[in-house]
């Protein structure tokens, strides 16, 4: 375990969080099995509960947005802070405990080995994980994959997985302007724009009543698509 931790010495994990006081402590503790807790950066997006305090108690580095700006904005804040703290690789990780820290070493390795600038987690690589994706959600994700292949010509199998790893170089190049859920598609556009080397790795996603309740609604997919198209038109 210590050897694994030494291997991940320059790795920072960014966890954007909004009203996750119930689980953020467990998430930080889960990640702390692999990286020192101070290298877990929780960005509290103006939560109405004790998310920031719970994350602090768990030993994370905590940043707070004064007003709610959205997951994309919180992620960008976390990535900037990680770069300022000297990260060599930055992991993005959801705060609702859908992602499993056990997948962290395998996700980070391609970046540490210099094989890729970006590692994208995919639910469709691990059969066990994709089986539990609700049917309508699976259909929308497939549509999003098709849209991504056509619009930015990236061959990915999961376009909206918050578990990804960026090298410091990639993190410095990728600009996240979309504050809300559209940021996931924007990150893929930026990967294509900067011609960053990317690979996919399977990750396990645990769907619980809590995480499904907090997650995106299926109809948000149309809002995301509309906002991305409008952003393209207005530049």
């Amino acid at each position: 375990m210590q050897e694994q931790r030494d291997n991940l010495a320059g790795v920072y994990v960014v966890v954007p969080a909004y009203n996750e006081a119930a689980v953020i402590g467990e998430v930080v503790a889960d990640l702390a099995r692999f990286v020192p807790p101070r290298q877990v950066i929780v960005v509290d997006d103006a939560s109405g509960d004790d998310t920031a305090q719970a994350a602090c108690r768990a030993g994370a580095t905590v940043l707070r947005h004064a007003i709610n700006r959205g997951q994309g904005a919180a992620l960008a804040t976390g990535i900037q802070s990680a770069l300022r703290l000297g990260a060599s690789a930055i992991v993005t990780f959801d705060a609702d405990h859908q992602h499993q820290a056990d997948d962290l070493p395998a996700m980070v390795q391609p970046v540490l080995d210099g094989e890729a600038d970006v590692v994208l987690g995919t639910r469709f690589g691990a059969a066990q994980s994709s089986r539990h994706i609700p049917a309508v959600r699976r259909m929308l994700l497939r549509a999003a994959v098709l849209y991504t292949r056509v619009s930015v010509k990236l061959r990915v199998s999961d376009t909206h997985n918050g578990f990804r790893v960026l090298s410091a170089k990639a993190a410095g190049l990728i600009r996240i302007h979309q504050d809300r859920m559209e940021h996931a598609s924007e990150i893929l556009e930026q990967i294509a724009k900067h011609r960053l080397r990317y690979v996919e790795r399977p990750v396990n996603v645990r769907y619980t009543a809590y995480s499904l309740g907090k997650g995106q609604r299926n109809r948000d997919a149309f809002k995301i698509m509309f906002k991305l198209l409008l952003h393209r038109v207005t530049g």
Binding site: L63, H65, S81, T234
Partner: protein, 112 residues
């Protein structure tokens, strides 16, 4: 009767735009653009026969139909403009919130 009402309205708008220009709220380019547009509206209201010729040329049924088409185009353009301005403000607010959070982090780091 309507041309008099339109004339009063256009003069009012032009005077307001000029006042905003003098106060520095709009540029001379924007002032001239708006004055030009409203001058065209004024001209067509007093010379409707030219509107009929134009609609015939464009293949639009009536002058009032052309007016609606143009008004809709202008509204869409304005709306897009407003959207762009709002997006700019959104980005600025997020940048500000981010900077405050990052400075707070730096301050926490340097605290004994």
């Amino acid at each position: 009767m309507y041309r008099y009402l339109v004339s009063v309205f256009v003069v009012f708008i032009i005077v307001r735009m000029y006042q905003r220009y003098r106060a520095g709220h709009i540029s001379s380019r924007r002032l001239l653009t708006w004055m030009g547009l409203w001058a065209v509206v004024l001209w067509f209201s007093w010379m409707p026969q030219y509107a009929d010729k134009l609609t015939g040329f464009l293949g639009v049924g009536r002058g009032v139909d052309l007016l609606f088409f143009v008004a809709i185009l202008m509204l869409v353009t304005l709306l897009l403009n407003v959207y762009v301005q709002l997006e700019k403000q959104r980005l600025e607010i997020t940048s500000l919130v981010r900077e405050l959070a990052l400075r707070d982090m730096e301050r926490q780091k340097t605290k004994p």
